[in-house]
Amino acid sequence: MMIVRAALLVALLAIPAGLTGAWIKSADARLAVATAAPGELAPVASASDVGYCNPELKRVLRRVLLSCGLGGGDAARGCQPVQAKNVATMSGHDFNALFTPMKDRGGIIQFDKDKADLDPVDLGLVDRVFADQRGASWFFVVARASPEGSIEHNRELSKARAEAVMAHLKTQFKDPDLDKEVGMLWLGKEYAQLETEFCAWQRSSSGTCNTEQLNRSAFVAWIDCQL
């Protein structure tokens, strides 16, 4: 009888002990396999790099950004028309064409003639566009002037327009990355004047759109490219 009782004891004790041991050994073996050959992990967070960021665009962007005070270094902020033309090494039309895929990510801040002041409608559009950064790494402010007046005056005027936008961004958003992500160009009337196709972009003026009015402006847009 004692043998029967002992057999019962061993058999029933073996159930929890044996099963536990076997299951743990099995889990340990699977753990070793998983450790040696890790599975796929969730992707790492990254900035946007959308479809229109082709190598040609990135090449031009890189040159413009580096030459216009971005991308590190101590280069002076902002590009003047001659610099912009040189670094872009392309016609004004081709330069503007670079921005056409960004229609939904940008806007045109329109100024009064010979003025560089932002009115509430202008400020609203700047805020809306800038707040909609999403994963974009670069923000361009490209200011221009209409053909009236001297070259020098229009250079200064377009520079004042670009700086007005930048000053507002600094005040409104207090973004520590502002100097690293905003590229400024002031083109005066000399290079890459906007054509009427840009009338379809969101603008701060709802009036009639012609090239003169369109170029009394600061073009602002986020660029969803990683360089």
């Binding site: 009888m1 029967v4 009782r5 019962l8 004891l9 029933l12 004790l13 159930i15 929890p16 002990a17 099963l19 536990t20 041991g21 299951w23 743990i24 050994k25 099995s26 889990a27 340990d28 699977r30 753990l31 998983a34 450790t35 040696a36 050959a37 890790p38 599975g39 796929e40 992990l41 969730a42 992707p43 790492v44 967070a45 990254s46 900035a47 946007s48 805020d127 809306r128 800038f130 707040a131 909609d132 950064q133 999403r134 994963g135 409104q172 958003f173 973004d175 520590p176 990355d177 969803d224």
Partner: protein, 474 residues
């Protein structure tokens, strides 16, 4: 041998049933020691997989801190179901022993049986109460174990009462003699005693169980539990080697001013940063587990919102949590009251997600209704910009697109440790930090090698881990 008492048979069957369900539950628990995500056998039929996947009560119960003990000493702790399996195995052994030794009518032996059945019954009562009161759900496997415990208790008491009352007169279910042998001749034998070599057929029942026998049985019962537990502790894989192997924060500073405190800022607590989505069920479950663990009090925890919602998050392609962008804006708009908004969002996240799925404007309406002071801020350029900065902080720190994530002193709590292994891993990390030895390190043997993520909520994105279902999401 005649048939044993029906109550004893019932107890034996209930104990076997208890062993089976407790074994399935233990198996489900133990298979997670490989740090992977597994389906559970959540069914009234042992061994069948449940139909509710990660949302089953079994999942909630298993991931809760009540499913195991010694959780800070061994990864995941020792499952309570292992002890249950052992106790049921002991009850089965003891019931069979009563049958074999024919002590089923012994009041002391059966009284011990009744007492032994009280242990799983009492434990079941406690666990059922915890399950309903704390977890708000029950698991099918657990219910089967509760029922088996109850049947064992009832049958155990019935067997004992029957033994106390004594066998019914004229009953035919008495056993055969328990001992058949030959009496030794003795000088002191009475004249009427059988002579040497006479066949003795005098005892119908074994002698009553001695105290020594009952003490031995108690010891065996303890051994039934202690041996498997000791085996478990001895064989459990070493998970400490994974601590610090799951990335670190290169730029933890809050340069954008987007972090907010969560929980109580523990004085002298370890600095910790949590990446969360206020509408993510895994984040809510993680918060609950962290609170239940008691370890939140040792952390000085700040949070960064990271909504898994393509409405504002360019890193995901789907609206995994509808309304998460809007609620995240509300959190950032709330300033010092951000923890209140997060707590509310965790409470209401099911409703917000469901209503926003049908009406994209619902999240804004619901949150503005609850927090009218935030109405002007939500949706404003400033709020959108701040939310964007939160996500840029995530980008700057090369964080994976999933929630929740917890970093203690810049070192990440591995994704595989956010549920079952939370107490063990987090307490180990805090101890290491106290000793000054917490650091991000490559995994031993292979710097690039580590198990795949599990137990958290990855974003829907091409290339994301396909099998990384929210294992920790109740």
């Amino acid at each position: 041998m005649r048939r044993p008492s029906p109550w004893l048979v019932a107890l034996l069957i209930a104990a076997v049933v208890g062993v089976v369900f407790a074994a399935v539950s233990t198996y489900d628990f133990v298979q997670h020691l490989d740090r992977q995500v597994h389906a559970l056998h959540c069914s009234f039929l042992p061994g069948l997989a449940g139909t509710h996947g990660g949302e089953s009560g079994c999942q909630v119960a298993m991931m809760s801190p009540y499913s195991s003990v010694f959780r800070t000493h061994v990864w995941g702790g020792v499952p309570i179901s292992l002890a249950a399996m052992s106790v049921f195995a002991f009850l089965a052994f003891y019931a069979l022993d009563l049958i074999v030794t024919r002590r089923k009518d012994d009041p002391r032996a059966t009284g011990f049986l009744a007492l032994a059945t009280a242990l799983p019954a009492a434990t079941s009562a406690v666990m059922l109460t915890v399950s309903l009161a704390k977890l708000g759900t029950t698991c099918k496997l657990c219910v089967c174990i509760y029922v088996a415990s109850a049947v064992c208790l009832i049958a155990g008491i019935a067997v004992w009462r029957r033994a106390v009352r004594g066998p019914a007169r004229g009953s035919h279910d008495r056993d055969d003699p328990a001992f058949v042998g030959r009496a030794k001749s003795s000088p002191s034998s009475s004249p009427s005693a059988p002579t040497s070599g006479a066949r003795l057929v005098a005892v119908n029942e074994s002698p009553g169980a001695s105290t020594g026998l009952l003490a031995a049985m108690f010891g065996i019962g303890v051994g039934f539990v202690a041996l498997p537990v000791a085996l478990y502790l001895a064989l459990a894989p070493d998970h400490a080697r994974f601590i610090g192997t799951c990335e670190a924060l290169p730029h933890p500073a809050d340069t954008y001013g987007v972090m907010f405190h969560v929980g109580l800022a523990a004085p002298g607590g370890a600095p910790a940063i949590e990446v969360l989505d206020p509408l993510c069920p895994a984040c809510r479950a993680f918060e609950q587990r962290l609170a239940a663990s008691g370890l939140a009090d040792r952390l000085d925890r700040k949070a960064v919102v990271f909504p898994l919602d393509s409405t504002c998050n360019w890193m995901v392609t789907e609206v995994t949590h509808p309304g998460a962008c809007t609620v995240s804006e509300a959190v950032l708009c709330a300033g010092d009251k951000a923890p209140e908004v997060v707590a509310w969002a965790f409470e209401e996240q099911d409703r917000i997600r469901a209503e926003t799925k049908a009406d994209p404007g619902a999240a804004a309406r619901i949150v503005k209704q609850r927090f009218p002071a935030l109405a002007a801020c939500i949706g404003s350029p400033d709020a959108r910009s701040r939310l964007n900065k939160s996500m840029r902080w995530v980008v700057a720190n090369n964080i994976r697109v999933s929630t929740p994530q917890l970093y203690v002193d810049k070192v990440k709590l591995c994704d595989e440790d956010v549920d079952l292994g939370l107490e063990y891993t987090l307490s180990s990390m805090l101890d290491r930090r106290a000793r000054g030895t917490l650091a991000a390190v490559p995994l031993e043997g292979d710097p690039a090698a580590k198990p795949s993520a599990g137990g958290k909520e990855p974003a829907a994105r091409p290339g994301a881990a396909p099998g990384a279902t929210p294992g920790a999401t109740p």
